[in-house]
Amino acid sequence: MTLLMGAVAYDPKVVTIWEGFRRFLVDHGLPFDFILYSHYERQAEDLVAGRIDAAWNSPLAWVRARRLAGAAGARLEALVMRDTDRDLRSVIVVRGGSGVESLSGLDGATVGVGAVDSPQATLLPLSLLRNHGLAAGTNLTIRRFDVGVGLHGDHVGGERDAARALIAGEVDAACMIDASHLLFAREGLFTASSTRIIAETEPYDHCNMTTGPSADPVLAARFRELLLGMSYEDAELRSLLDLEGLKTWRPGRTSGYQALESAVDEARFYGEDGALLADDYRP
């Protein structure tokens, strides 16, 4: 029996990462293989249907899989997550000289967001704005930058386009994950004092490795144990861990997805049963 995992090919490096991890896992006695998906929706459906045993899920894919599993009476487990998946924040950014000091200053403004299915650059920041009485169609115009739709915001292109639009004066504010704000500053897209952060979301969690109803419990336990045992001191693993953006795997937790669950409901993105509701979402 082989533990079969799904991952989304949002970048060519995904092949390098999972080829390398697969070699490590197999060398350590775990029969393991992976298949790549072009977007998260099919992966979430296949996980719950038992066509794959595990899925390297985006936070939004976790939310959908959890809803699908709830409707089907199937059991899921968030097995592990990266150290870098915990306690992230999204930020809402304005131009430094705009005079906007807080969210209330955005009344009537145009806000740039990422792809329709980006938790960090669209769903969560729009929920934050909504909770401050700012909603699309009433007192806010949303300009969406749909890059890599279906990849749940893994592709940074949408956030970057929104950031460029902010600098160009095409939007009044832009939404992005905290790491992208630092990234764009390092890249020189944002220069000193060219932007100001006016709001942050509460901390939330990002990806997790989810096991589905078809996963053999013994194999899943061994999978968890091997991932948690990966050491950053190991030079071969280190290059893969660097590519995947972590120093160490941590036990999975599901306490960091509540804000996204609410945001999904507010946006009517998925139904309670995991159905796709968003009309303009074409992964």
Binding site: D83, T84, D87, L88, R89, V91, D178, A179, H181, L182, A185, R186, F190, A192, R196, I197, E200, S231, Y232, E233, A235, E236, R238, S239, G245, K247, T248
Partner: protein
């Protein structure tokens, strides 16, 4: 511990101060970071996460909790010898890749595709000194030769010069390609040797230029290239062992060329020919000196080396037994070049000069073989087996 970045942002280099403060703290230590950059809290949280540190945002100043990742990255790193000339190790690890000698080398990364990785196989104590000497004595082909010096030669004498230049150029090609091939196979841990070889390649490039320019100075038709001479050079190109190649090319071949270039310098019928040969001679002396220095070092490290050198000469002799060796046209051209004129008396003088050249080459080879440790009778025997093509 507490630090203050004042108004410096993490995106503008502030992380360097944080990094420095964390450097000597034990894992788990807390570092409170004060500062006036409005994005400090957000950026410090991101930076800490990326670096594998914890972050505590509950207090008035964001606080980094030192993680173990930075230490883990370097825990198995090793120094690749010492940077100075005495810092080489007997064996260079291909896993160091292109790391500088003395660098602290992180584990991982692709191994270097080098097979010359042992000091005994490549080293020469004088390598550093010979490199520095070579680097300081590079000359500009455009200005080091008086290309416009006035002279006029009878056409047969000019033809002889062109033939000799044609021969020299093909030999210089070999002398350029051989060290270039070894550079690509050598571990840069022995950088002084690589540098010597690189200078040698640059020398040969200039020799090719000046010999070509002299050949084309008065003539549009180049001389002939004999199959036997090229066969002789091919055996040099085919030699894959560094010490054997140094022996055949630098000691025996370029050693013989010292006499040849001196001959051309002394008997040149025109100033340009004299100058180009003289400049090349200066460089070739250094090439021979490196070959000798390397072989002395290698023979000290491996007493069986002399036996292998002997076998290499014999094998090359056997391989070339059925070839003509030096092209008759080249030999004749040396006579004519030294004769300067087309009279019986001048030709006799040229002939005698070439006889003396061959004797000098033979004696030079024997002298170097003895210096390497061969008994004199064996040196006589081996010198006689050297290729008739000189190189």
């Amino acid at each position: 511990m507490t630090i203050d970045l004042e108004d410096l942002g993490l995106d503008a280099g502030g992380y360097l101060i944080v990094q420095r403060a964390l450097r000597d703290l034990p894992i788990g230590s807390r570092l409170a970071v004060h500062g006036r950059d409005p994005a400090l809290r957000v950026h410090l949280a991101v930076w800490s996460r990326e670096q594998g540190h914890g972050i505590d945002l509950s207090g008035p100043a964001p606080t980094v909790v030192k993680g173990s990742a930075t230490t883990a990255r370097w825990s198995r790193a090793r120094r690749a010898g010492d940077p100075g000339p005495d810092g080489t190790l007997p064996h260079a690890d291909v896993r160091w890749g292109l790391a500088m000698r003395g660098a602290l080398v992180e584990e991982g990364g692709p191994p270097l595709h080098a097979d010359l990785i042992d000091r005994g196989v490549v080293w020469a104590e004088a390598a550093q000194q010979l490199y520095q000497h070579g680097a300081a004595r590079q000359w500009n082909p455009d200005t080091a030769v008086r290309w416009d010096a006035p002279f006029a030669l009878p056409s047969e004498i000019e033809g002889a010069v062109v033939q000799v230049m044609t021969y020299l150029v093909e030999n210089e090609y070999a002398a350029m390609q051989i060290p270039a091939g070894f550079i690509a196979r050598m571990h840069p841990h022995y950088r002084e040797v690589m540098q010597v070889l690189a200078i040698q390649v640059a020398d040969e490039a200039r020799h090719v230029e000046v010999f070509t320019r002299r050949a084309m100075l008065r003539s549009s038709e180049m001389g002939v290239s004999g199959a036997g001479g090229r066969a002789s050079l091919q055996t040099l190109l085919d030699e894959t062992d560094f010490s054997l190649a140094a022996f055949l090319l630098s000691v025996l071949g370029e050693g013989s060329f010292l006499d040849l270039l001196e001959f051309i310098t002394r008997h040149a019928p025109d100033p340009v020919t004299r100058e180009v040969a003289g400049l090349a001679l200066r460089d070739e002396r250094r090439h021979v000196a490196f070959g000798m220095a390397h072989l002395k070092y290698a023979a000290d490290a491996d007493r069986a080396l002399l036996g292998r050198l002997r076998t290499a000469v014999e094998r090359r002799h056997d391989a070339l037994a059925d070839t003509a060796g030096l092209n008759q046209d080249v030999f004749d051209s040396l006579v004519v070049l030294a004769a300067h004129a087309w009279t019986p008396e001048s030709l006799r003088s040229g002939w005698n000069a070439v006889q003396a050249l061959q004797k000098a080459m033979n004696e030079g080879r024997q002298r170097r073989l003895v210096q390497l440790g061969f008994p004199s009778d064996e040196a006589v025997e081996l010198s006689a087996l050297h290729t008739r093509n000189f190189m």
